[in-house]
Amino acid sequence: MFDDTKFLCKGIAAVIIIGLVIRFVVGGLLTYNYDVYHWALTISNFEAGNDLYGTAGYYYTPVWGYILGIFSRFYELFGIDMLGERFTDLLFVEDLNTLSPHTAFVTTIPFNIAVTALMAVSDLVSAYLLFWIVRETYDVRKAKICFAVWFLCPFAIAVGSIGGMFDSISIMMALLCICLLMRNQELLAGAMFTTAVLFKLFPAFLFFLFIAYIIVKHRDDWKLRIAKAGIGAILFGGVLMLPMALNGTLMDSLSLITARTSSDALYLSEIVKYGTPLAYVLEIVAAAILAHVFLKTKHGNDDRSFLFYCFLMMVLLFLIPGAPQYHLLLIPFLIMIAICADAKLRIPMAILFVTASVHMLSPLVMDFLSLTMYTDLMSLDAWTSFYNMFAFHSDFMDMPGFDLWSTIIGIIDLIALILVAVTTFVRLLSKRTESALDGLR
């Protein structure tokens, strides 16, 4: 199926078609409205002349807002005039304070499909970049398998098409950084790295490994190359942040980081509020140690070892419990290693795909709101009955049914992640990882 040496073969074409059809069908019918509502609100805020932070609604660093800026010009070409409505019949859902917030705002199906299209393009580009990296480090056949596994991964589909979350774009940027470093394009890699970090913080944990990779790959002129990367990062970062620095909203643009450690974010429990920053400090230390080990170890194949170290970093990073979509950044690295380096990881990977997808879909009943309010496929009465199945109050830790369900699923998902981590480290310690990783022996 994937034996052709060219990228575009019948197998890849079939994967692309199947992947796109699934995304548009699923994304058209099911959407978790809370986040997508905020994308619509952000667009209306800047279209009203209040940029990203002038009025409330956008809680991220600016890069996603800029992508929404260009995205708004694309979907407007298709005449999408209404992004969503607030339904009086649904006001009751806002009474329940749950881990995944509920809103009476329901985004329209055309807007949901537009968001799905954006995420599908991003997934497709990420799939190609995964193909490119594996082709350069292993072979074309494995590269095509990686492409297919990623593009048909149910978790990736759930995050982008149903959740409407932009983690897949973050992955595209992280993979682009790796490709650019492999192509010795440090200036551009620096610009892309800044963009990726300002987009979603997680790629920042690859910083030390990226530096170590440049040093290992260019023993003679690594200082110059790192300087080029630094210049690219600073210049492009400056361009991205300049408007906020000029209009006095720079601190607002960083509120995602600061609010998570302040008492203002009242949704957070004390453990999460103080435990998460501490855990991330430990992750930074782990990232520095991994990079140091990578730097000091002699590798048979620098690129393969580098990818494996990136995978190790992601495994460590996502052992910290968080929103399910965060784990998506682990998936491309897991696919690479499971397909190319260690087949024993394939079963844990498959289990993780299932648990992470179910975790992502845990506000299940809320995903049906667009379908209910804008089509005749589900009546409001039927939806309300469905909702009430989860709206009961549980005595267990004083949780609403919604949170009980998502907590159980979250724990199962974490166990799957631990299974991946344990398999990885047991294999590593017993030196059974594929010989391409000889640098680790």
Binding site: F46, Y60, G69, R86
Partner: protein, 350 residues
Amino acid sequence: MDARKDLPVLIAVILLALILAGEFVVFSAGHGDYGSDVVFGEDSISYEIRSNGPHVYDVVVMDGSAGSPTDVSVYYDPSYASNISDVMVAVGGRALDQEYYVQQMGGTLRMRGVDDVSTIDADDMLALMESPGKGHALVCLSGSLPSDVYDGTPDSPVFKWLASGGRLYWAGNAIGAYCSEGETLRDIGSEGTALFLGSDCIEGDSRIAYGECPDGSCSAFSFQNNQIAYSPSIGKLPSDRAHAHFGFSDGERSSISLIQYGEGFVCIIGGDYSNFQRIDLGQVIASGLSPTTVIVDHIHGSVNGRTTGTALAGDHVYISLGGYFPVYGELKEADRCSMTRSSCARASPP
């Protein structure tokens, strides 16, 4: 350049270029992308709406509107005590405190065509009270007024200002129940509320409305806030004062209440701080809703470029774009248009 090997480089360049283009879009979009004109006739009005991009629009024709305020003063003085409750915000969101709320009022109103918005402190407010209130709007989000302006007695300057036509927009707590003596809060109680509204008609309980007022204002103005705490009980308001109620209602109170005071009025937006409340507050101020406002007609449609239409006649027309995701609003006034007919009649009647 090896196309096979360098495709990621090309993708990276395209992606960075798109992000920069998006940055330009975000910081260049604004009020200038939209416009509207209205021609007032004897039996009908005709309108033209222009939008750079597809948007839903609402044309609301009203009688008895107060018109646009000449200026809006938003009170914020951290050296005086406030009395408001903390509210939950989304993870990553900046806390919605009084300072942030006040900061957002300028943008909230300017996108709706109200340009003269300023933040004032307690001294400025006292100065404001010394001139006639007609046409001026004061927004108070502190849950308490400084004692120089209001000290719990009927002789307080704020009442003279209201009687002379001032508009007081209030959100965040029970009106009149507190005043601030510097950093000290003084509890005046329900007698203070009665001074503003004519009766003791506010209960302190936190309530939420699940229904809409029957006048169609929710859909006409895309009102969003369904909290009704600190809103007056309609049945307890004195009959000798005009009052109007819009937005969401539980049958006894509504999320937006406007009560006449002399030639001016008091407007109460129910509940604790929320973005929904701020958006509704912006709509109410910009559309000039008053205790005597009646919605005559409401047209809902879609525009991409330019559209025209007609509606029943009224003395004010509020045109907005974006629906529940508002991007533009503007109030058109029959009186003002008749005075400057040439500027208002640029649109050809359809």
